[in-house]
């Protein structure tokens, strides 16, 4: 998949998109499975995606589609009974290219990348910060883990960072405990911690889902501004298609552990290729449509992870499914353009013709 793309028209024009065309992260056929009592949950089952330098890739899907597990696999934050069983996660960072999936999850090489080169922001800012220590303690600790600075230097850098993420009185916030701050402020602190070592890649897992819409808007603005300024890449995980439209350069749509469609944000919203993407977009209420709109729905629900349907994982809910084909055969991933792919037989005319016979 080629990685260059026209910058979105509404973005800051002087934004430096890193070195366009460079791939920063390349996930290839990743499989992360959970070995539970009832069987094997294939939470991530053959996910491939690439993150270009300086760009934002949104991973979107409903709960249970494997988007968070994909993100956590990158930083090797998968706990038992889960483990990466197959695939490669190539990281083209500061040093030699490495396969993160092959590194020791507790080892020094990974530790140097985690937090310093790849940072992560989670959904629940309150739960991610320790209630026992002040914001200043936690922020300077994060800074000093990766940078050789004195206490005073780390403190000053912390102050600077808090100002940078839009916290009005940094000095007071440094001395506060997390529970004294609002959800939006906590998330800003988390972002400050994540950015403290100037990461090349920021993974944000539903960072605004627990926040009010007004706060969410400001956090999204902040992330876009910081990205324009630092040229970092972002993997932004969300289930909110509005947020995707607001922030993504490229979109990865996931369903039941697989990528069903991938493409530039405009194509995904205005020319979706996979029936699931189309159904998902149609089921979102849109402001301006007026009241009493009847929403189109996706029939049924996401299957239980232990009862994964054979063939295309979506065929049980797909209105365009072809009996005898979709319920039998794994759909092929089909390239539909330099940057667009969809995993659906409908785009393989030969397969469809054969099935009709």
């Amino acid at each position: 998949m080629s990685m260059e793309g026209a910058p979105s028209p509404n973005r800051t024009p002087d934004r430096d998109p890193g070195t366009p065309g460079d791939v920063l992260l390349e996930i290839d056929q990743l499989r992360t499975h959970f070995f539970v009592d009832g069987g094997v949950v294939r939470a991530v089952d053959g996910v491939s995606l690439t993150v270009p330098a300086g760009r934002t890739v949104c991973v979107v899907g409903e709960s249970g589609c494997g988007k968070s597990i994909t993100a956590r696999s990158i930083l090797r934050l998968i706990e038992r009974p889960g483990r990466i069983v197959d695939g490669r996660i190539r990281w083209y960072g500061a040093g030699e290219p490495v396969d993160l999936a092959a590194l020791d999850a507790e080892g020094e090489p990974l530790r140097r990348i985690r937090g310093a080169e790849i940072a992560m922001v989670f959904q629940e800012p309150m739960a991610s910060l320790s209630p026992m220590y002040t914001v200043g303690n936690q922020l300077t600790e994060a800074i000093r883990t990766h940078l050789e600075l004195t206490d005073q230097e780390a403190w000053d850098r912390g102050l600077e960072l808090l100002g940078h993420v839009g916290i009005p009185r940094p000095q007071r916030t440094m001395e506060s405990y997390p529970f004294q701050l609002s959800g939006g402020m906590c998330q800003r602190v988390m972002i400050a911690i994540a950015l403290s070592c100037r990461p090349r890649l920021l993974i944000a897992d539903e960072p605004t889902t627990a926040l009010d819409v007004t706060t969410q808007a400001r956090i999204i603005d902040l992330l876009a501004d910081l990205q324009a300024e630092t040229g970092m890449s972002m993997i932004f995980i969300t289930h909110d298609l509005g947020v995707v439209a607001e922030i993504a350069d490229e979109v990865v749509v996931m369903y039941l552990g697989t990528v069903v469609e991938q493409g530039p944000v405009d194509d995904i919203f205005h020319d979706p290729k996979h029936p699931y993407t189309r159904a998902l977009l149609a089921s979102v209420p849109r402001m301006g449509r007026g009241t009493k709109q009847r929403l189109s729905t996706i029939p049924g629900q996401v299957p239980h992870p232990l009862q994964r349907p054979p063939g295309c994982p979506f065929h049980t809910r797909c209105t365009e499914a072809i009996p005898g084909l979709c319920d039998v055969q794994d759909p092929p991933m089909i390239d539909l353009g330099p940057r667009s792919r969809a995993r659906c037989v409908l785009h393989d005319h030969e397969l469809v013709r054969e099935a009709a016979r």
């Binding site: 509404n10 709960s63 819409v213 808007a217 400001r218 607001e246 209420p285 009241t291 729905t297 996706i298």
Partner: protein, 391 residues
């Protein structure tokens, strides 16, 4: 218990202007099912120690006037902490409001003040006013079967038991799209969307007239959310229900509500028909809320940036003087910090609590052409505070 002749429009509760305002908000022909008048809910803040003294109060709901018309879906929106859930809890009397009245008009036309009833007197009304909660995971008792959960209000109210109860549960489960054959299963066997259907079945089993839906679809996935919203709408028609739909999601609210009330720091700041409120907001807070909603269309990217609100949500225990919103309002004038604006009619059937709304031209949402409501003429609002000059 109130007497049958205590009609909503004749009630002389509260200061005169309030009664007037309440009467004005009812167009001829529309009947109010609930009239919330000057409702307040204050929670004490206690100090530390054995003899903890009350050191202040949080005004979760701070003088709300609101009428719910029979058969409508009234949306109640606002940021977390604005008091919308507390208002809902007061209406179903999970809380005893500190002040004000909740005048409910029963099926026979009698009006009672739910705020003044004791637990025993309240019982018949608890079947008529029901609530659907947000979280489909924590709101169902994991040790009870679906039959027990959905049938509980019938059993507790002495309405039905035994095979009759079971039959009514089966009918209701079927109606909300669940298989009656699953009624002996426990909640853990159901997905989030199915549990929310159980919640809805539990709320509707007593044949209520008014249903408070508190973030009823917020925890659901997109595709399931659409199913549940459509279900709520079908049930409304079928059972002639009135909904108070509490939500923070402006696009969901637009899709289902007839009218919308916007709440800020325990007060209603704007109230209008949905289309009118979205197309022509009359309060700066509503404008900011609408512009903050991320739109699922990349072409609209960055559009809302002009109206971003600062994060400094005021402390509900110590609200700012004057207009509560002035500390975050982009249009605030000097005197906004000293005079509290009344919720008043700005345009026909459109009320807002802002001194300067006539001078502002606030941005709403572009309504798709065939959906646009006809532009009403600006009514002659009550005189503004004399010290205000045309800017």
């Amino acid at each position: 218990m109130s007497t049958p002749d205590e009609r909503i429009d004749l009630v002389d509760a509260g200061p005169e202007p309030r009664a007037e305002a309440a009467a004005r908000s009812t167009p001829p022909g529309a009947e109010n099912i609930l009239s919330v008048e000057n409702l307040a809910m204050r929670y004490p803040i206690r100090g530390h120690g054995l003899f903890a003294r009350t050191t202040g109060h949080v005004h979760a709901v701070n003088g709300v006037d609101l009428t719910v018309r029979k058969g409508e879906v009234l949306g109640l929106v606002g940021e977390s902490g604005c008091g919308k859930t507390t208002l809902g809890r007061c209406i179903v009397r999970s809380e005893q409001p500190t002040e004000g009245s909740l005048r409910y008009r029963g099926p026979d036309g009698t009006v009672v003040d739910l705020a003044r009833l004791n637990a025993r007197e309240l019982r018949p009304y608890q079947n008529q006013v029901r609530v659907v909660f947000q979280d489909p995971f924590s709101s169902l008792n994991p040790r009870m079967t679906i039959l027990q959960i959905v049938g509980d209000p019938l059993r507790a109210g002495g309405i039905a038991r035994g095979s009759e109860l079971e039959e009514r549960v089966a009918i209701m489960l079927k109606r909300v799209g669940l298989s009656p054959g699953h009624m002996r299963r426990y909640p853990h066997a159901f997905s989030g969307g199915e549990r929310q259907r159980v919640n809805i079945a539990r709320a509707l089993i007593t044949q209520p007239r008014l249903v408070i839906a508190d973030e009823a679809v917020s925890a659901l996935d997109v595709s399931v959310r659409a199913q549940v919203l459509n279900l709520l709408r079908d049930l409304q028609e079928e059972f002639d229900l009135t909904y108070l739909f509490i939500s923070h999601d402006m696009s969901v609210v637009e899709s289902i509500c007839d009218r919308v009330a916007v709440m800020y720091l325990g007060r209603i700041v704007e109230l209008a028909d949905t289309g009118d409120l979205y197309a022509r907001p009359q309060h700066p807070y509503t404008e900011a809320l609408l512009s903050a909603v991320p739109r699922p269309d990349p072409r609209l990217r960055g559009q809302g940036r002009r109206h971003r609100l600062p994060d400094n949500f005021p402390d509900p225990a110590d609200p700012p003087a004057g207009c509560f919103f002035h500390t975050r309002c982009a249009y605030a004038q000097e005197d906004c910090g000293s005079h509290q604006p009344e919720l008043r009619t700005v345009i026909e059937d459109h009320r807002a609590a802002c001194h300067y709304t006539e001078q502002l031209s606030l941005t709403g949402v572009d309504i798709e052409p065939d959906q646009a409501p006809p532009a009403p003429s600006r009514a002659d609002g009550p005189p503004r505070p004399s010290q205000l000059k045309e800017s």
